[in-house]
């Protein structure tokens, strides 16, 4: 018994000393915060998008890291809520990260941005399209296009491409993205001569859309624009089909492969706009697809968060390399000067706000229950 206890003590002592010795030999990693929804309503698509960060970090660390130090991603869960994002940002600040990637949703980004701005820690939001996000301050950057661009883009597509005259807009009232995009679409659509015949809101957690569907059934618009996420949009479309209401559905960049599961077969012929698509062929995109396949042994899914996150990590790494420091202020300065960066989603140059210049979007169409590049 006594011997046994001695053994345990010995082992404990060994473990107490050995790791610190090992650490002192290897270089200190550069901590990068990743704020994402690991739990809650947005967890499914967020976790998928986070793979992009993993891939990038692996790639960078495989070639020796940056400044001789490996990158380390520290994940902060925002519980899929603005409040969660707020506290996740605070935790990241406390943790002393050099920069933050995320959060994904606009509402989350809008909560995290003021915290990080005031802490002077650079934040790169991969997919937050609400224009207000980068307006928070000079430390806030984004990888995607903004909703004023996308709204106009989709309005033009609906009016001109699909020749729609009467449009219904179904809005997720709990998401800033949805509200903002809807606003821009409406503005663009009416400006283009179209008419908004119905505007309905649903809650963030909504699962039953029968009330809205009853109304929409009476109006029968030419097009039904749903600037929502895959889950709620998918459920809406499925319930619509179930009620025998077949409409021309149009979505924003928040749609991804997962909507196919939520909507069932009812999505056939629907369109949505996005930053990226796997079918886009470029040197970097091909590289990402190969990398993805290599790591996960499957083809990359249609989730724009993956390449945008992947690109964000690389841009951040690039900025660190260029600044030659892990000091957040220096990283911010380098990030602001990012220009002509070649990423999987294209060439990226940040404007004065931290938004990418040269916004461009693609239209995807559901054909045979599969997203195909339409335009």
């Amino acid at each position: 018994m006594k011997f046994f206890r001695f053994n345990i003590t010995a082992v404990l002592v060994f473990f107490m000393f050995f790791p610190s010795m090992a650490c002192s030999n290897s270089p200190q990693p550069i901590n990068i915060g990743l704020i994402l929804s690991k739990t809650g309503i947005a967890a499914l698509d967020n976790l998928a998008g986070a793979k992009g960060a993993d891939l990038a970090v692996k790639e960078i660390n495989d070639i020796g890291g940056i400044l001789g130090r490996p990158l380390k991603i520290i994940e902060f869960d925002n519980l899929s809520t603005p409040l969660g994002s707020d506290s996740a940002a605070k935790k990241a600040v406390l943790k002393g990260v050099s920069a933050v990637i995320g959060p994904y949703r606009s509402s989350h980004a809008l909560s995290a941005a003021p915290i990080l701005q005031s802490a002077c820690i650079p934040m790169i939001a991969p997919t937050a399209t609400a224009p207000e996000v980068t307006l928070v301050g000079n430390y806030i950057f984004r990888m995607c296009f903004t909703d004023n661009f996308q709204g106009q883009f989709l309005a033009d597509f609906a009016r001109n491409g699909l020749k729609a005259q009467r449009a219904a807009v179904i809005i997720n009232a709990g998401e800033q993205y949805s509200l903002t995009l809807a606003d821009f679409f409406k503005t663009g659509f009416t400006r283009d001569g179209g008419e908004i015949v119905l505007e309905e809101h649903y809650s963030r957690n909504a699962v039953d859309f029968s009330d809205i569907l009853t109304k929409i059934n009476k109006i029968r618009p030419d097009i039904c624009f749903i600037p929502g996420y895959s889950r709620d949009s998918g459920l809406f479309i499925r319930q619509s089909a179930k009620k025998g209401i077949f409409l021309q559905f149009l979505g924003g960049d928040a749609w991804d492969d997962q909507i196919l599961d939520y909507a069932g077969n009812a999505l056939e012929g629907a369109y949505f706009s996005t930053n990226w698509h796997p079918e886009i062929t470029s040197e970097k995109n091909d590289h990402l697809k190969k990398l993805y396949f290599k790591v996960y042994s499957k083809t990359i899914e249609n989730n724009y968060r993956i390449p945008l996150t992947y690109d964000a990590v690389h841009i951040l790494a690039d900025a660190i390399k260029r600044s030659g420091s892990t000091e957040p202020s220096k990283i911010q300065a380098a990030l602001a000067r990012t220009s002509g960066f070649q990423g999987a989603t294209g060439t990226i140059t940040f404007d004065i706000n931290g938004d990418p210049v040269n916004n461009k979007a693609v239209i995807m169409k559901c054909v045979n229950n599969k997203w195909t590049h339409f335009k």
Binding site: L83, D86, S87, A173, G174, L179, H201, S203, R204
Partner: protein, 691 residues
């Protein structure tokens, strides 16, 4: 009329029962209903809280990120819950953010919500004529306070339900009561009231004389049984009535017979009364007798107790007396010489001899000493030798005229002696010298009891006691001469009273009045006279001594005539003096020789007997006690065997006793007491020889 009355009572009973049941039901149901109401409210509160909790996080996020549209929708979603009619959200400062119905929920009064954001509330109130429950709860997420949510829950349904259930209960109760009342009424009418009415009618018929009335039996219950019993009774009544009529006819015969029997009975009764009266009388007599007996027994017991006390006292005196007597006997012998020799000497010396006066003085002293010895012997109660009939007045008067009294009065000049002597005082039989001494002692004591002066009242009277006088002693019934000596002195203390008669029990200073034997002599004297003493005393007021002496009916003893010495002179008769004491022999033989007797002496009984075997004597003077030889009695016994009828005079220092009596019974003559005097011995010898 009676039917109505019974019915009324039954109905009243039913009604009262129903009311009690209703009251009980209400009393049971009311708290249950109230509890149910409260439970419902509690459930509503729980429901509202649950609904809020479900949406709390959303609301918090919506307020946080300013999503008013989403907040409005969330609030609207509350309304989907059945009963919630309005919902509103307020920010942390209590400012309204969103409301679903601004008419009922738009502002937050200061008292409603807790400024600290910790307390929820739940209350009932009326808004726009709607009875609602208002639920207010702070929104707190992750420790941060974002604002408040208020929910209004419509309670009108519940209220209505409560009202309905009350009405329902009332209706059911009334219906039930009505049904029960009607049913019971019908039932009782059919089963009780009607049959009872039938029974009553039948009874009335019997009352009117229609015996044998029968009623129909409809049921087998108590009333049915009553009807059966009634029928039987009615039938029996009829039969009995018939029998009675028959019996009345036979009545006259019986009546005569009964009268006869009554007469006999009256006679017997009167005889019995007589016997009882007689018997009662007897019993009363017996009872009286029994009472008398009991009284006697009680008296005897009392007397016995008194006797015992007296015996104890007497024994004590006896013992003391015996002591004194013992001393006296020896003294007496010693004194013999002093008393006797002067007589002899005086015979021999001429009358003008100068020795004559001293010798007479010696003789006088001897007599006085003898008197003292007699005093002592009095205590021994053996001293009363010569009792004679006398009058107590004489004794008193003699004392009052005595030098002793004069001497006493001389010493106590402030004392006045008053005498009250009964002129026809009866005689007593007693010893003059003792009685005189007794009077002297009592008066002397009385004088000493009042040193400051006072009165001594000496009185005599005849007194006859027909009952026992319970005083100092118990004085037996009889004729008494009472001598009473009363003083006005200090009295006797209670603790001393029982002991005043004891020898030497004296409180006085020794010397003036003698030896402490005074009262003992009084006691001894009275005892010797078969009398009693009664003492009454009160402290500070004085004492009264009463002597009860039995009356004597004998005539007064004549004063001894003066005997001249010539009268005792013998004629040469032979006398044998038997005495163990040489001086006594000498005195006796001397006196007797002087008196012309031929004297022989014997020093013991045995000598006397042997002397008389060869000689004879006309008279023997025989001493009683002759230690260590045979005593006088035994000597005389032997002598009379030789000389039957031998004359003898008995001499002894002691008073007469049993043995003296015995010897006198054997034939011996007079008893003389030592010390001898020439008169005593001469007279006795002469008397004996002359018989």
């Amino acid at each position: 009329m009676k039917t109505k009355s019974l019915r009324l009572k039954v109905n009243t009973a039913i009604l009262v029962s129903c009311v009690i049941i209703a009251a009980c039901s209400a009393a049971i149901l009311y708290p249950v209903e109230t509890k149910r109401h409260l439970t419902q409210l509690e459930q509503i509160k729980i429901l509202l809280n649950a609904v809020f909790e479900q949406n709390k996080e959303n609301i918090a996020n919506e307020i946080f990120s300013g999503q008013e549209k989403a907040l409005s929708m969330t609030l609207l979603s509350f309304l989907k819950v059945n009963g919630i009619i309005a919902a509103a959200a307020f920010d942390a400062d209590g400012k309204l953010i969103e409301t679903t119905d601004s008419s009922v929920l738009s502002e937050r009064s200061a008292s409603d919500l807790d400024a600290s954001g910790n307390q929820s509330f739940f209350k009932q109130k009326t808004v726009n004529n709607l009875y609602v429950a208002e639920f207010g709860v702070p929104i707190r997420v992750a420790g941060e306070h974002f604002g408040y949510v208020k929910l209004l829950f419509d309670l009108s349904n519940m209220k209505r339900e409560f009202f309905y259930s009350f009405v329902m209960f009332l209706l059911m109760l009334l219906t039930t009561l009505a049904a029960v009342s009607v049913f019971l009424n019908l039932f009782l009418t059919r089963m009780v009231t009607k049959p009872v009415a039938h029974l009553r009618d039948a009874i009335q018929n019997i009352q009117q004389g229609r015996l044998g009335e029968q009623i129909e039996v409809k049921a087998e219950d108590e009333i049915g049984q009553m009807a059966i019993a009634f029928n039987a009774m009615s039938q029996k009544l009829k039969e009995q009535h018939l029998k009675m009529t028959e019996a009345i006819n036979d009545k006259e015969d019986y009546l005569q017979e009964i009268n006869n029997v009554n007469m006999e009975l009256a006679q017997l009764n009167s005889a019995l009364e007589d016997r009882v009266t007689k018997r009662t009388m007897e019993l009363i007599e017996l009872n009286d007798q029994l009472k008398h007996n009991i009284e006697e027994i009680e008296n005897a017991a009392m007397e016995n107790k008194g006797l015992q006390e007296r015996l104890l006292r007497s024994q004590k005196m006896e013992a003391l007396g015996l002591l004194a007597g013992g001393v006296a006997h020896d003294l007496n012998n010693v004194l013999s010489g002093i008393v006797s020799y002067p007589d002899l000497l005086l015979m021999d010396i001429p009358s003008d001899s100068p020795l004559r006066k001293p010798i007479l003085t010696i003789q006088s002293s001897g007599y006085k000493a003898a008197a003292i010895v007699q005093d002592l012997l009095t205590l021994a109660r053996r001293g009363v030798t010569n009792l004679r009939v006398m009058n107590l007045n004489t004794i008193v008067m003699e004392y009052l005229n005595s030098p002793e009294h004069e001497k006493l009065m001389y010493h106590n000049r402030d004392i006045q002696v008053i005498t009250s002597l009964h002129p026809q005082l009866l005689n007593i039989k007693g010893s003059e010298i003792h009685l005189k001494k007794t009077v002297m002692n009592l008066v002397s004591n009385a004088a000493e009891a009042q040193p400051e002066g006072g009165k001594i009242i000496i009185s005599t009277e005849n007194r006859y006691l027909d009952v026992v006088l319970k005083g100092y002693e118990n004085v037996k019934e009889g004729d008494y001469v009472v001598l009473s000596i009363e003083d006005t002195g200090t009295g006797i203390l209670p603790q001393d009273l029982s002991r005043i008669f004891e020898p030497f029990y004296s409180k006085k200073v020794m010397g003036r009045s003698g030896t402490g034997l005074g009262m003992a002599v009084v006691w001894g004297t009275v005892q010797d006279h078969q009398g009693y003493i009664n003492v009454e005393t009160a402290e500070g007021k004085g004492s009264t001594f009463e002597l009860f002496l039995p009356v004597s009916r004998e005539g007064l003893t004549l004063t001894d005539k003066l005997v001249q010495i010539e009268d005792y002179m013998g004629k040469g008769e032979s006398i044998l003096v038997v005495d163990d004491v040489p001086e006594q022999r000498e005195i006796a033989s001397g006196i007797l020789s002087k008196l012309n007797y031929s004297v022989s002496v014997a020093s013991s009984g045995e000598d006397a007997v042997s002397y008389l075997k060869t000689h004879s004597a006309d008279l023997i003077i025989l001493d009683m006690i002759m230690e260590p030889g045979i005593d006088g009695l035994e000597t005389y016994r032997r002598i009379i065997q030789i000389h039957p009828g031998q004359r003898a005079v008995i001499a002894s220092g002691f008073a007469e006793n049993k043995r003296v009596k015995e010897i006198q019974n054997l034939g011996a003559g007079q008893y003389i007491r030592k010390p001898y005097t020439i008169e005593k011995i001469g007279l006795a010898v002469k008397k004996e020889l002359e018989i």
